[in-house]
């Protein structure tokens, strides 16, 4: 017989917002991948479900540099934190898609600024995984792209881990 001392205290309800890309990056660093042999990774089934969802969203083709570039470029516009995050996670490709992510868009931003924002999104963030043009993606190419991308994120994560231990 043993006592189950269960006491949970919430220290910080919100210790920081995470972009879809950061969560995907975290799961990848844990070992999640599109590889069908998933038994070996230390990733739980429920975590894999999140990975499978995120990998198909625009976050699936984002990289750390592109996200950093996006944040720098978007700073010049007066968007709330929630809107910056929404735009990053959805990666709108046209004005119509943006109108609705940004509250009172027509009143706060002149048309040219909206177009500018859409352009900046298009320039800094890669196209979502399923929107890549057919000529670019053949079966073989898709795998090398994902591998290259995985390698890049792993290299970056290794740097990240080194920083944490020091």
């Amino acid at each position: 017989m043993f006592y189950l001392l269960l006491e949970m205290k919430i220290l910080e309800e919100n210790a920081g917002a995470l972009t879809n890309f950061e969560v995907l990056d975290f799961l990848r660093a844990k070992g999640a991948s599109k590889d069908p042999s998933r038994v070996l990774a230390k990733v739980a089934m429920s975590e894999y479900k999140v990975y499978d969802y995120l990998v198909k969203t625009p976050a699936g083709s984002q990289t750390r540099e592109s996200v950093k570039e996006y944040f720098t470029a978007i700073k010049q516009h007066d968007l709330s934190e929630a809107e910056v995050l929404n735009v990053l996670n959805i990666r709108p490709a046209s004005e119509v898609e943006i109108y609705h992510i940004i509250e009172d868009c027509e009143e706060r931003f002149p048309d040219e600024e909206v177009t500018e924002i859409v352009e900046k999104v298009g320039n800094t963030l890669p196209a979502p995984p399923d929107k890549a043009t057919p000529e670019e993606i053949t079966k073989g190419d898709e795998e090398t792209e994902t591998q290259k991308h995985d390698e890049i994120s792993q290299d970056q994560t290794e740097d990240g881990e080194q920083m944490d231990t020091s």
Binding site: Y3, M8, N14, A44, T57, H100
Partner: protein, 193 residues
Amino acid sequence: MFYLSKIEHKFALPPHLLARPIREAIQSELERLFLDKVIQKLGLCISVYDITSIEGGSIFPGAGAPTYQVVFNLIMFRPFPGEIISAKVMSLDADGVRLSLGFFEDIYIPTHHMPYPSYYISKNNTRKWTWEYGEETDEFNIEISNEVIRFQVLSVSYPTIPVEQAKESKPFAPMVVNGSLYHEGLGPVSWWQ
């Protein structure tokens, strides 16, 4: 949709994990306790992000396992009102549409938040919601398929656990997201391209 939440938890570490290095054992137990579970007001726990500190390890009299006090960060899925999320249709009926993210399936769009005007049609074996836009009929449909649907989060609620449930009622959902498809830009992505 994801936030980090810092939690402090005191718990006993089951003896069968004691052969492992302490961090690994604690991570394993935290994952068993929190992963895929809903914490009221914080959302659905996706992952243990990191462990900030581990204290304790003393064994209380009569207990067979050491008790640890651990401070750690969890990645929580907690959509905010106004957020726009892509999902897939899981089921539909006259009361609205139910959407799923794969890892979370309790997203409901009630009738009054469907695009206006739209109608629920259940005919032969097909069920769908049709949006009447302009002269077109039957061009804008929402059906169970692999298509990506964008919805806007209206609210997130955490219903209290019912003491008793009727046998045929839906399994209890500890976290429910209410959404809307009302505005321009929402609904199947194909409608807006």
